[in-house]
Point group: C2
Chain length 246, copies 2
Protein backbone atom coordinates (compact mmCIF):
# COMPACT_ATOMS: atom_id res chain seq x y z
CA UNK A 1 0.00 0.00 0.00
CA UNK A 2 1.46 3.34 -1.08
CA UNK A 3 0.82 6.35 1.12
CA UNK A 4 1.22 9.98 0.16
CA UNK A 5 1.62 12.73 2.71
CA UNK A 6 1.83 16.51 2.92
CA UNK A 7 3.99 17.94 5.70
CA UNK A 8 5.39 21.20 7.04
CA UNK A 9 8.64 21.86 8.79
CA UNK A 10 10.70 24.57 10.36
CA UNK A 11 14.10 23.99 8.77
CA UNK A 12 16.01 26.09 11.34
CA UNK A 13 17.29 23.19 13.45
CA UNK A 14 17.84 20.60 10.71
CA UNK A 15 20.90 19.79 8.59
CA UNK A 16 18.53 19.82 5.61
CA UNK A 17 15.89 17.40 4.38
CA UNK A 18 18.05 14.49 3.25
CA UNK A 19 19.04 11.76 5.69
CA UNK A 20 22.65 11.89 6.87
CA UNK A 21 24.40 9.78 9.46
CA UNK A 22 24.76 11.61 12.82
CA UNK A 23 22.89 14.69 11.55
CA UNK A 24 19.38 15.74 12.51
CA UNK A 25 17.41 15.72 9.24
CA UNK A 26 13.73 15.88 8.29
CA UNK A 27 13.86 12.62 6.33
CA UNK A 28 15.69 10.94 9.20
CA UNK A 29 13.09 12.01 11.78
CA UNK A 30 10.10 10.96 9.66
CA UNK A 31 11.61 7.58 8.73
CA UNK A 32 12.40 6.93 12.40
CA UNK A 33 8.77 7.64 13.35
CA UNK A 34 7.33 5.56 10.48
CA UNK A 35 9.68 2.67 11.25
CA UNK A 36 8.40 2.71 14.84
CA UNK A 37 4.79 2.64 13.63
CA UNK A 38 5.74 -0.20 11.28
CA UNK A 39 6.91 -2.41 14.16
CA UNK A 40 10.58 -1.49 13.68
CA UNK A 41 10.59 -2.74 10.08
CA UNK A 42 12.46 -0.02 8.19
CA UNK A 43 10.39 2.44 6.11
CA UNK A 44 11.86 4.79 3.48
CA UNK A 45 10.16 7.96 2.32
CA UNK A 46 10.49 9.59 -1.10
CA UNK A 47 9.92 13.33 -1.08
CA UNK A 48 9.27 15.70 -3.99
CA UNK A 49 12.88 16.80 -3.60
CA UNK A 50 15.37 17.91 -0.98
CA UNK A 51 15.56 21.20 0.81
CA UNK A 52 18.82 22.53 2.23
CA UNK A 53 19.72 23.27 5.87
CA UNK A 54 17.63 26.14 7.24
CA UNK A 55 15.05 26.03 4.42
CA UNK A 56 11.41 25.65 5.52
CA UNK A 57 8.43 23.90 3.93
CA UNK A 58 4.72 24.62 4.18
CA UNK A 59 3.63 21.79 1.89
CA UNK A 60 6.42 19.32 1.21
CA UNK A 61 5.09 16.01 -0.18
CA UNK A 62 6.39 12.44 -0.02
CA UNK A 63 5.28 8.85 -0.57
CA UNK A 64 6.12 5.68 1.33
CA UNK A 65 5.04 2.05 1.30
CA UNK A 66 3.67 -0.04 4.13
CA UNK A 67 2.51 -3.65 3.91
CA UNK A 68 -0.55 -2.91 6.03
CA UNK A 69 -3.57 -0.79 5.19
CA UNK A 70 -3.82 1.62 8.11
CA UNK A 71 -6.57 4.01 9.09
CA UNK A 72 -5.36 7.31 7.64
CA UNK A 73 -6.42 9.61 10.45
CA UNK A 74 -4.92 7.27 13.06
CA UNK A 75 -1.71 7.07 11.03
CA UNK A 76 -1.53 10.87 10.87
CA UNK A 77 -2.19 11.12 14.59
CA UNK A 78 0.45 8.48 15.51
CA UNK A 79 3.02 10.03 13.23
CA UNK A 80 2.51 13.53 14.66
CA UNK A 81 2.71 12.14 18.21
CA UNK A 82 6.10 10.60 17.41
CA UNK A 83 7.53 13.48 15.38
CA UNK A 84 9.42 16.40 16.97
CA UNK A 85 7.50 19.69 17.22
CA UNK A 86 9.27 21.23 14.22
CA UNK A 87 7.73 18.76 11.73
CA UNK A 88 3.99 18.33 11.24
CA UNK A 89 2.12 15.97 8.93
CA UNK A 90 -0.85 17.89 7.52
CA UNK A 91 -2.51 15.04 5.67
CA UNK A 92 -2.08 11.47 4.41
CA UNK A 93 -3.89 9.69 1.58
CA UNK A 94 -3.31 6.45 -0.29
CA UNK A 95 -2.17 6.57 -3.92
CA UNK A 96 -1.65 4.16 -6.83
CA UNK A 97 1.42 1.91 -6.56
CA UNK A 98 3.06 3.61 -9.53
CA UNK A 99 2.70 7.14 -8.15
CA UNK A 100 6.07 8.67 -7.30
CA UNK A 101 6.33 11.85 -5.21
CA UNK A 102 9.46 13.00 -7.04
CA UNK A 103 9.10 11.69 -10.61
CA UNK A 104 5.46 12.74 -10.93
CA UNK A 105 6.00 16.37 -9.89
CA UNK A 106 4.49 18.78 -12.45
CA UNK A 107 5.40 22.01 -10.71
CA UNK A 108 6.75 23.42 -7.47
CA UNK A 109 6.35 26.77 -5.85
CA UNK A 110 9.04 28.35 -3.69
CA UNK A 111 8.59 31.60 -1.83
CA UNK A 112 11.29 33.84 -0.37
CA UNK A 113 10.58 36.43 2.35
CA UNK A 114 12.64 39.59 2.85
CA UNK A 115 12.42 42.40 5.41
CA UNK A 116 13.71 45.63 3.88
CA UNK A 117 13.55 47.75 7.03
CA UNK A 118 15.47 47.11 10.23
CA UNK A 119 16.21 43.83 11.93
CA UNK A 120 13.44 41.88 13.64
CA UNK A 121 14.93 39.25 15.97
CA UNK A 122 11.57 37.47 16.29
CA UNK A 123 11.60 36.47 12.62
CA UNK A 124 15.36 36.19 12.09
CA UNK A 125 15.10 32.49 11.12
CA UNK A 126 12.01 32.96 8.94
CA UNK A 127 12.47 36.18 6.97
CA UNK A 128 15.78 37.41 5.52
CA UNK A 129 16.60 40.57 7.49
CA UNK A 130 18.18 42.48 4.63
CA UNK A 131 17.56 46.00 6.01
CA UNK A 132 18.06 47.77 2.69
CA UNK A 133 15.70 49.76 0.51
CA UNK A 134 15.40 48.10 -2.90
CA UNK A 135 14.17 49.29 -6.29
CA UNK A 136 11.07 47.09 -6.46
CA UNK A 137 9.88 48.00 -10.01
CA UNK A 138 13.38 47.16 -11.34
CA UNK A 139 13.25 43.81 -9.52
CA UNK A 140 9.83 43.13 -11.03
CA UNK A 141 11.24 43.75 -14.51
CA UNK A 142 14.09 41.32 -13.77
CA UNK A 143 11.56 38.69 -12.66
CA UNK A 144 9.86 38.92 -16.06
CA UNK A 145 13.18 38.05 -17.79
CA UNK A 146 13.44 34.94 -15.64
CA UNK A 147 10.03 33.61 -16.67
CA UNK A 148 9.97 31.00 -19.41
CA UNK A 149 12.16 28.09 -20.48
CA UNK A 150 15.86 28.78 -19.91
CA UNK A 151 19.14 27.05 -19.19
CA UNK A 152 19.65 28.00 -15.51
CA UNK A 153 23.28 26.88 -15.23
CA UNK A 154 24.21 30.40 -14.02
CA UNK A 155 22.01 29.82 -10.98
CA UNK A 156 23.17 26.46 -9.65
CA UNK A 157 26.10 25.09 -7.71
CA UNK A 158 29.38 25.56 -9.62
CA UNK A 159 31.12 22.38 -10.85
CA UNK A 160 28.01 20.31 -10.37
CA UNK A 161 27.95 17.57 -13.00
CA UNK A 162 24.59 17.68 -14.66
CA UNK A 163 23.40 17.16 -18.19
CA UNK A 164 20.25 19.16 -18.07
CA UNK A 165 20.08 22.67 -16.69
CA UNK A 166 16.93 23.60 -18.59
CA UNK A 167 13.92 24.48 -16.47
CA UNK A 168 10.75 26.47 -17.03
CA UNK A 169 9.73 29.20 -14.63
CA UNK A 170 5.97 29.38 -15.12
CA UNK A 171 5.49 32.46 -12.97
CA UNK A 172 7.91 34.75 -11.13
CA UNK A 173 6.40 37.49 -9.01
CA UNK A 174 7.04 39.85 -6.17
CA UNK A 175 4.45 40.93 -3.62
CA UNK A 176 4.58 43.58 -0.91
CA UNK A 177 2.57 43.06 2.23
CA UNK A 178 -0.25 45.65 2.06
CA UNK A 179 0.04 46.15 5.84
CA UNK A 180 3.83 46.45 5.72
CA UNK A 181 5.43 47.68 2.48
CA UNK A 182 8.87 46.70 3.74
CA UNK A 183 7.89 43.03 3.71
CA UNK A 184 8.53 41.54 0.30
CA UNK A 185 7.74 38.00 -0.86
CA UNK A 186 9.20 36.63 -4.08
CA UNK A 187 7.37 33.59 -5.52
CA UNK A 188 8.72 31.28 -8.17
CA UNK A 189 6.50 28.64 -9.75
CA UNK A 190 8.44 26.26 -11.97
CA UNK A 191 8.48 22.76 -13.43
CA UNK A 192 11.62 22.06 -11.40
CA UNK A 193 14.49 23.81 -9.68
CA UNK A 194 18.24 23.13 -9.63
CA UNK A 195 20.15 23.09 -6.38
CA UNK A 196 20.47 26.64 -4.89
CA UNK A 197 18.58 27.99 -7.92
CA UNK A 198 15.95 29.94 -5.96
CA UNK A 199 18.48 31.40 -3.52
CA UNK A 200 20.81 32.38 -6.38
CA UNK A 201 17.94 34.00 -8.28
CA UNK A 202 16.90 35.91 -5.14
CA UNK A 203 20.55 36.95 -4.60
CA UNK A 204 20.68 38.38 -8.12
CA UNK A 205 17.30 40.10 -7.65
CA UNK A 206 18.62 41.79 -4.51
CA UNK A 207 21.60 43.08 -6.52
CA UNK A 208 19.15 44.37 -9.13
CA UNK A 209 17.16 46.05 -6.34
CA UNK A 210 20.35 47.66 -5.00
CA UNK A 211 21.18 49.01 -8.47
CA UNK A 212 24.35 46.90 -8.82
CA UNK A 213 22.89 44.98 -11.76
CA UNK A 214 20.35 46.22 -14.34
CA UNK A 215 17.19 44.18 -14.87
CA UNK A 216 18.05 43.79 -18.56
CA UNK A 217 21.43 42.26 -17.60
CA UNK A 218 19.49 39.20 -16.46
CA UNK A 219 19.18 38.16 -20.13
CA UNK A 220 23.01 38.08 -20.50
CA UNK A 221 23.52 36.41 -17.14
CA UNK A 222 21.19 33.57 -18.15
CA UNK A 223 22.89 33.32 -21.57
CA UNK A 224 26.39 32.96 -20.05
CA UNK A 225 25.45 29.65 -18.42
CA UNK A 226 28.11 30.35 -15.82
CA UNK A 227 27.58 30.63 -12.09
CA UNK A 228 30.25 33.33 -11.74
CA UNK A 229 28.19 35.58 -14.04
CA UNK A 230 25.39 35.70 -11.48
CA UNK A 231 25.33 37.15 -7.97
CA UNK A 232 25.27 36.24 -4.32
CA UNK A 233 23.34 33.33 -2.83
CA UNK A 234 20.55 34.57 -0.53
CA UNK A 235 20.52 32.94 2.93
CA UNK A 236 18.43 29.83 3.55
CA UNK A 237 16.25 31.31 6.32
CA UNK A 238 13.95 33.27 3.96
CA UNK A 239 13.18 30.28 1.71
CA UNK A 240 10.06 28.09 1.85
CA UNK A 241 8.96 25.21 -0.32
CA UNK A 242 5.39 26.47 -0.53
CA UNK A 243 3.70 23.77 -2.58
CA UNK A 244 4.19 20.84 -4.96
CA UNK A 245 1.80 20.10 -7.82
CA UNK A 246 1.15 16.74 -9.53
CA UNK B 1 23.86 60.88 31.33
CA UNK B 2 20.62 58.84 31.18
CA UNK B 3 19.94 56.81 28.04
CA UNK B 4 16.60 55.36 26.98
CA UNK B 5 16.31 52.52 24.51
CA UNK B 6 13.66 50.57 22.62
CA UNK B 7 14.46 46.94 21.90
CA UNK B 8 12.94 43.74 20.48
CA UNK B 9 13.59 40.17 21.45
CA UNK B 10 12.61 36.63 20.64
CA UNK B 11 11.88 35.22 24.10
CA UNK B 12 12.07 31.56 22.96
CA UNK B 13 15.59 30.87 24.18
CA UNK B 14 15.64 33.02 27.32
CA UNK B 15 14.71 32.23 30.93
CA UNK B 16 12.70 35.47 30.87
CA UNK B 17 13.71 39.11 30.96
CA UNK B 18 15.04 39.42 34.52
CA UNK B 19 18.67 38.68 35.29
CA UNK B 20 19.31 35.38 37.06
CA UNK B 21 22.57 33.73 37.95
CA UNK B 22 23.50 30.94 35.51
CA UNK B 23 20.42 31.56 33.32
CA UNK B 24 20.37 33.18 29.90
CA UNK B 25 18.20 36.29 30.29
CA UNK B 26 17.52 39.39 28.21
CA UNK B 27 18.58 41.77 30.98
CA UNK B 28 21.74 39.72 31.57
CA UNK B 29 22.75 39.83 27.89
CA UNK B 30 22.13 43.57 27.53
CA UNK B 31 23.96 44.47 30.75
CA UNK B 32 26.91 42.31 29.69
CA UNK B 33 27.13 44.16 26.35
CA UNK B 34 26.73 47.61 27.95
CA UNK B 35 29.32 46.81 30.59
CA UNK B 36 31.75 45.89 27.82
CA UNK B 37 31.06 49.17 26.02
CA UNK B 38 31.54 50.97 29.36
CA UNK B 39 35.10 49.64 29.76
CA UNK B 40 34.02 46.79 32.04
CA UNK B 41 32.48 49.17 34.58
CA UNK B 42 29.16 47.55 35.48
CA UNK B 43 25.98 49.02 33.92
CA UNK B 44 22.45 48.21 35.11
CA UNK B 45 19.35 48.63 32.96
CA UNK B 46 15.83 49.40 34.17
CA UNK B 47 13.11 48.12 31.87
CA UNK B 48 9.40 49.03 31.77
CA UNK B 49 8.80 45.67 33.43
CA UNK B 50 9.70 41.99 33.20
CA UNK B 51 8.51 39.46 30.69
CA UNK B 52 8.43 35.75 31.49
CA UNK B 53 10.34 32.93 29.80
CA UNK B 54 9.20 32.44 26.20
CA UNK B 55 7.43 35.83 25.98
CA UNK B 56 8.52 38.10 23.13
CA UNK B 57 8.78 41.87 22.82
CA UNK B 58 8.52 44.15 19.81
CA UNK B 59 9.06 47.39 21.72
CA UNK B 60 10.35 46.82 25.24
CA UNK B 61 11.86 49.97 26.74
CA UNK B 62 14.56 50.56 29.35
CA UNK B 63 16.84 53.27 30.71
CA UNK B 64 20.44 53.12 31.89
CA UNK B 65 23.11 55.58 33.01
CA UNK B 66 26.62 56.08 31.65
CA UNK B 67 29.13 58.67 32.81
CA UNK B 68 30.09 59.51 29.25
CA UNK B 69 28.05 61.19 26.55
CA UNK B 70 28.26 58.80 23.61
CA UNK B 71 27.22 59.22 20.00
CA UNK B 72 23.78 57.57 19.91
CA UNK B 73 24.02 55.88 16.55
CA UNK B 74 27.49 54.51 17.39
CA UNK B 75 26.20 53.27 20.73
CA UNK B 76 23.28 51.51 19.03
CA UNK B 77 25.64 49.98 16.48
CA UNK B 78 28.15 48.77 19.13
CA UNK B 79 25.39 47.35 21.29
CA UNK B 80 23.82 45.42 18.41
CA UNK B 81 27.25 44.09 17.39
CA UNK B 82 27.77 42.70 20.89
CA UNK B 83 24.23 41.40 21.47
CA UNK B 84 23.13 37.89 20.42
CA UNK B 85 20.92 37.70 17.32
CA UNK B 86 17.71 37.24 19.32
CA UNK B 87 17.87 40.73 20.85
CA UNK B 88 17.94 43.91 18.78
CA UNK B 89 18.14 47.53 19.93
CA UNK B 90 15.84 49.57 17.68
CA UNK B 91 16.72 53.01 18.98
CA UNK B 92 18.48 54.95 21.75
CA UNK B 93 17.89 58.51 22.92
CA UNK B 94 18.98 60.52 25.93
CA UNK B 95 16.40 61.49 28.57
CA UNK B 96 16.20 63.66 31.67
CA UNK B 97 17.97 62.29 34.76
CA UNK B 98 14.66 61.85 36.58
CA UNK B 99 13.00 59.82 33.82
CA UNK B 100 12.39 56.21 34.88
CA UNK B 101 11.47 53.52 32.33
CA UNK B 102 9.30 51.66 34.86
CA UNK B 103 7.87 54.33 37.16
CA UNK B 104 6.96 56.70 34.32
CA UNK B 105 4.97 54.14 32.30
CA UNK B 106 1.51 55.47 31.38
CA UNK B 107 0.29 52.42 29.45
CA UNK B 108 1.43 49.15 27.95
CA UNK B 109 0.09 47.10 25.11
CA UNK B 110 0.34 43.32 25.00
CA UNK B 111 -0.78 41.22 22.06
CA UNK B 112 -1.49 37.49 21.98
CA UNK B 113 -1.52 35.46 18.75
CA UNK B 114 -3.54 32.27 18.29
CA UNK B 115 -3.85 29.88 15.36
CA UNK B 116 -7.29 28.23 15.38
CA UNK B 117 -6.70 25.81 12.53
CA UNK B 118 -4.10 23.04 12.46
CA UNK B 119 -0.55 23.11 13.74
CA UNK B 120 2.09 25.15 11.96
CA UNK B 121 5.58 24.06 13.07
CA UNK B 122 7.16 27.17 11.52
CA UNK B 123 5.40 29.46 13.98
CA UNK B 124 5.17 27.11 16.99
CA UNK B 125 7.23 29.46 19.19
CA UNK B 126 5.48 32.62 18.00
CA UNK B 127 1.76 31.84 17.73
CA UNK B 128 -0.19 29.59 20.11
CA UNK B 129 -1.19 26.56 18.03
CA UNK B 130 -4.57 25.99 19.63
CA UNK B 131 -6.20 24.17 16.69
CA UNK B 132 -9.78 24.71 17.88
CA UNK B 133 -12.65 26.67 16.41
CA UNK B 134 -13.76 29.36 18.86
CA UNK B 135 -16.90 31.44 19.20
CA UNK B 136 -15.34 34.78 18.31
CA UNK B 137 -18.38 37.06 18.92
CA UNK B 138 -18.77 35.56 22.41
CA UNK B 139 -15.05 36.23 23.08
CA UNK B 140 -15.51 39.81 21.90
CA UNK B 141 -18.35 40.27 24.38
CA UNK B 142 -16.13 38.90 27.16
CA UNK B 143 -13.39 41.38 26.19
CA UNK B 144 -15.84 44.26 26.71
CA UNK B 145 -16.45 43.11 30.32
CA UNK B 146 -12.70 43.23 30.94
CA UNK B 147 -12.36 46.85 29.84
CA UNK B 148 -12.30 49.47 32.58
CA UNK B 149 -10.94 49.73 36.10
CA UNK B 150 -11.14 46.42 37.97
CA UNK B 151 -9.45 44.42 40.70
CA UNK B 152 -7.65 41.76 38.63
CA UNK B 153 -6.70 39.46 41.51
CA UNK B 154 -8.50 36.58 39.73
CA UNK B 155 -5.96 36.88 36.92
CA UNK B 156 -2.63 36.88 38.70
CA UNK B 157 -0.34 34.35 40.35
CA UNK B 158 -2.06 32.70 43.31
CA UNK B 159 -0.61 33.48 46.74
CA UNK B 160 1.33 36.43 45.45
CA UNK B 161 1.55 39.07 48.17
CA UNK B 162 0.42 42.35 46.74
CA UNK B 163 -1.58 45.25 48.07
CA UNK B 164 -2.91 46.61 44.86
CA UNK B 165 -4.57 44.45 42.23
CA UNK B 166 -6.47 47.30 40.63
CA UNK B 167 -5.62 48.01 37.02
CA UNK B 168 -7.39 49.73 34.14
CA UNK B 169 -7.74 48.02 30.79
CA UNK B 170 -8.12 50.94 28.42
CA UNK B 171 -8.90 48.81 25.39
CA UNK B 172 -9.39 45.06 24.90
CA UNK B 173 -9.92 43.85 21.36
CA UNK B 174 -9.74 40.85 19.09
CA UNK B 175 -8.73 40.97 15.45
CA UNK B 176 -8.85 38.31 12.76
CA UNK B 177 -6.27 38.42 10.01
CA UNK B 178 -8.22 39.43 6.85
CA UNK B 179 -6.02 37.06 4.81
CA UNK B 180 -6.42 34.18 7.29
CA UNK B 181 -9.56 34.12 9.45
CA UNK B 182 -8.07 31.39 11.61
CA UNK B 183 -5.38 33.78 12.84
CA UNK B 184 -6.62 35.71 15.84
CA UNK B 185 -4.80 38.47 17.72
CA UNK B 186 -6.02 39.67 21.10
CA UNK B 187 -4.72 43.11 22.16
CA UNK B 188 -4.85 44.52 25.65
CA UNK B 189 -3.94 48.13 26.32
CA UNK B 190 -3.76 48.92 30.02
CA UNK B 191 -2.19 51.21 32.59
CA UNK B 192 -0.35 48.21 34.02
CA UNK B 193 -0.52 44.44 34.17
CA UNK B 194 -0.08 41.98 37.03
CA UNK B 195 2.12 38.93 36.64
CA UNK B 196 0.53 36.34 34.27
CA UNK B 197 -2.47 38.66 33.90
CA UNK B 198 -2.52 38.69 30.09
CA UNK B 199 -1.99 34.93 29.78
CA UNK B 200 -4.70 34.25 32.38
CA UNK B 201 -7.11 36.59 30.59
CA UNK B 202 -6.36 34.88 27.27
CA UNK B 203 -6.83 31.46 28.93
CA UNK B 204 -10.27 32.52 30.15
CA UNK B 205 -11.15 33.97 26.74
CA UNK B 206 -10.28 30.65 25.12
CA UNK B 207 -12.64 28.91 27.55
CA UNK B 208 -15.31 31.46 26.60
CA UNK B 209 -14.63 30.74 22.92
CA UNK B 210 -14.96 27.00 23.57
CA UNK B 211 -18.34 27.54 25.27
CA UNK B 212 -17.10 26.37 28.68
CA UNK B 213 -17.63 29.80 30.22
CA UNK B 214 -20.24 32.42 29.22
CA UNK B 215 -19.03 35.92 28.40
CA UNK B 216 -21.27 37.36 31.11
CA UNK B 217 -19.58 35.07 33.69
CA UNK B 218 -16.52 37.29 33.33
CA UNK B 219 -18.24 39.86 35.58
CA UNK B 220 -18.52 37.29 38.42
CA UNK B 221 -15.01 35.96 37.85
CA UNK B 222 -13.57 39.46 38.23
CA UNK B 223 -15.74 40.09 41.31
CA UNK B 224 -14.53 36.90 43.06
CA UNK B 225 -10.96 38.26 43.26
CA UNK B 226 -9.77 34.67 43.36
CA UNK B 227 -7.40 33.04 40.89
CA UNK B 228 -9.21 29.67 41.15
CA UNK B 229 -12.38 31.35 39.81
CA UNK B 230 -10.66 32.01 36.50
CA UNK B 231 -9.36 29.61 33.85
CA UNK B 232 -6.22 28.19 32.35
CA UNK B 233 -3.03 30.15 31.74
CA UNK B 234 -2.33 30.45 28.00
CA UNK B 235 1.22 29.46 26.97
CA UNK B 236 3.98 32.08 26.81
CA UNK B 237 4.81 31.58 23.11
CA UNK B 238 1.83 33.60 21.80
CA UNK B 239 2.50 36.65 23.98
CA UNK B 240 4.26 39.85 22.90
CA UNK B 241 4.92 43.08 24.76
CA UNK B 242 3.94 45.23 21.81
CA UNK B 243 4.56 48.74 23.11
CA UNK B 244 5.09 50.90 26.20
CA UNK B 245 3.74 54.45 26.43
CA UNK B 246 5.05 57.32 28.60
Amino acid sequence: MRYFMTFSYDGSNFSGYQKQIKERTIQGEIEKALTKINGEISVSIHASGRTDAGVHAYNQKAHFDLDKELDLSKLKYSLNSLLPDDIYVRGITTVADDFHARFNVKAKEYIYKINLDGYNPIERNYVYQLNKRLDIPEMERALKYLEGKHNFKSFTKPNEEKDDYVRTIIQAKLERDPKNVNRVTISLLGDGFLRYMVRNIVGLLIEVGEGKVKSSDVIDIIAKEDRTASGICAPACGLYLNDVYY
